[in-house]
């Protein structure tokens, strides 16, 4: 019997062809790298396909690879309540223009996750209904989870309340 991972990969390759740039399996978890232009199509397919039915976006987060090209990544941990299976999608964007299309139209829960990712990494999600900072104050200028942001913070970057 072929495993669920193989089945997902097979179906996606058949449907989207060369859009699956890379795939690997580690600890039984399938990770696929896809171009950001196709992310909404692929997510919509994964969610609506009768057999796969990945209806729960468990988590969405950013990552800073700190490389000259493809510096920022967005990671989608997707779960299916029907098949109880988990897969992961990854997409990358460049440092100069860190934009990725939003998937908040596919899963409503992506709304806050994308806001958090924007707050922490400065990745802009195109078409997001309400892209504000999640945790940091709105006037804060930096994105704290980027690797070039110092652990101890930047002195003076957060204004203290006046007496």
């Amino acid at each position: 019997m072929e495993s669920m991972n193989e089945k997902v990969l097979e179906k996606l390759t058949a449907k989207f062809g060369d859009a699956i740039l890379e795939s690997n399996e580690f600890r039984g978890e399938l990770t696929m790298v896809v171009p950001k232009e196709r992310i909404v199509d692929i997510c919509t397919f994964l969610r609506t396909d009768e057999e796969l039915h990945f209806d729960l976006l468990a988590d969405l987060c950013g990552i800073d690879m700190y490389t000259p090209v493809k510096r920022f990544g967005v990671i989608y941990n997707i779960y299916s309540l029907t098949t109880k299976h988990r897969i992961r999608l990854k997409t990358f964007c460049e440092e100069e223009n860190p934009t990725v299309p939003t998937v908040s139209g596919v899963w409503g829960t992506a709304n806050w996750h994308e806001r958090e990712t924007f707050d922490m990494y400065g990745i802009h999600f195109e078409g997001h209904p309400d892209l504000r900072r999640m945790y940091m104050p709105d006037e804060f200028e930096y994105h704290p989870l980027r690797k070039d942001f110092p652990l101890m913070g930047i002195p003076g970057s957060l204004e203290l309340p006046k007496k």
Partner: protein, 418 residues
């Protein structure tokens, strides 16, 4: 035209009032206006520092915007600068009402990354503490929900039970709240037979105590009036918004990671997953009450089946040795030195591991470059995601029901804000 500008000034006045306490807004006819109410972040019923901006028409909620971040401590940034062992105490501070459950979730994720399986006794101990943490968290829920709708006795009773649990936690881990009990590949210390006896007594008494609380609430007209049919969320909407845990099971979705993707020893245990399909505050209350009974059942089985054995996996390059060995043996001293200074050095790779925490799916995504610290660690905290559905739940409810709905969702800001 004039009316338009008057409305605009009024609107800006309201916005100003939200920022500045000295501004007052006066209306000619208060019943004709929508009002924006700021609730929190310092409010006894928001379970910490949740802030809600609520738009009201009279007493009915038209819309709301939750604001988070008042307890943001940057744990994900810290994790990138901590070794895997050093991060264990920080997991206590995520969901501070069930630290033992977080400790377990975190070490399970790291163990999956390094490909390590803990000893059978450790697995049973971890199952035991996860379920005790679930009972403790749900008791807190029971007390605070009852108190938020005005029933103070239940709060006292559930806290009396929680106090016994915290005494047990102190015996198991040496601390009541900040337990930091688990270790990668094991637990800090073994559970003694005396402690197991105390757990046994507690578990035997618990169903009776829950019954006592239920007698006060289940047929209480005031309580039912405040929760029955209030804060409804539909099944499809709940899945779309990523709701997990008791909130999702109250919408008729039988999803529990303990059953769906079994970890620890849950596949060997006999328990039921309570599912209700009301989707309202009352259903969420029923689910948690039933879960406490099921957890008691699990703990009883774990106590019976608990095997004897080691509490540390035999992988000296990954697992911290016991202090006695460090002080008396050369090899262990070297391993201890290397583990503390350079970390466990896991393989290169990325993985996500989730457990069913009391509030929902608690997951850790770790991206490892083979160094002592994770390159990236994302904490998928259930309260953060669950809070997203609060706007849907309180829309159309009365202002006084907002506190009851927040209580029925049971968010903990420690993990929502990370």
């Amino acid at each position: 035209m004039e009316q338009q500008s008057e409305q605009n000034t009024r609107k800006s006045k309201i916005l100003e009032a939200l920022e500045n306490e000295h501004t007052s807004v006066a209306f000619n006819d208060p019943l004709e206006n929508e009002m924006v109410l700021n609730m929190g972040p310092q409010h006894p019923a928001t379970h910490g520092v949740l802030r809600l901006l609520i738009k009201l028409d009279g007493e009915t909620v038209l819309a709301s915007v939750p604001e988070l971040g008042y307890l943001h401590r940057g744990y994900e940034k810290l994790a990138e600068n901590c070794s895997f062992h050093e991060f264990i105490p920080h997991t206590d501070r995520l969901d501070y009402l069930s630290p033992l459950s977080n400790n377990t979730a975190y070490v399970l994720a790291v163990e999956k990354l390094i490909g390590l399986e803990a000893q059978p006794r450790v697995q049973y101990i971890r199952t035991l503490i996860s379920e005790l943490a679930r009972i403790s968290s749900h008791l807190m829920f029971l007390g605070s929900l009852a108190m938020d709708v005005g029933a103070l006795t239940v709060w006292m009773w559930s806290f009396r039970e929680r106090e016994k649990l915290y005494d047990i936690f102190e015996k198991i881990a040496g601390a009541r709240f900040t337990t930091s009990y688990t270790r990668i590949g094991g637990v800090a210390q073994d559970i003694t037979p005396e402690t197991m006896k105390i757990v046994r007594t507690f578990i035997d008494e618990l169903p009776g105590k829950i019954r006592e609380c239920e007698k006060l609430l289940n047929t209480n007209a005031i309580f039912l009036g405040r929760v029955d049919g209030v804060g409804v969320i539909l099944r499809e909407k709940a899945i779309d918004l990523g709701l997990t845990g008791p909130g999702l099971r109250a919408c008729g979705v039988e999803h529990d990671l303990r059953r769906a993707n079994p970890y620890l020893v849950y596949s060997d245990l006999d328990f039921r997953i309570p599912v209700y399909d009301g989707g309202d505050s009352l259903a969420r209350y029923y689910v948690r009450i039933d879960e406490m009974r099921e957890s008691a059942k699990i703990v009883r089985q774990v106590l019976e089946k608990m095997p004897a054995g080691e509490i540390r996996a035999a992988k000296p390059k990954k697992v911290l040795p016991g202090k006695q060995q460090v002080y008396t043996k050369m090899e262990e001293l070297i391993h201890d030195f290397m583990l503390v200074n350079f970390g466990i050095e896991p393989p290169v790779g990325e993985m996500y591991h989730a457990v069913e925490a009391p509030k929902g799916e608690l997951g850790f995504y770790i991206y490892s470059k083979g160094e002592g610290q994770p390159w990236r660690m994302k904490i998928r905290s259930p309260s953060f995601v669950n809070l997203q559905s609060i706007s849907t739940m309180i829309k159309g409810a009365m202002i006084s029901d907002v506190v009851a709905i927040i209580a029925s969702l049971d968010p903990v800001m420690g993990e929502a804000d990370k």
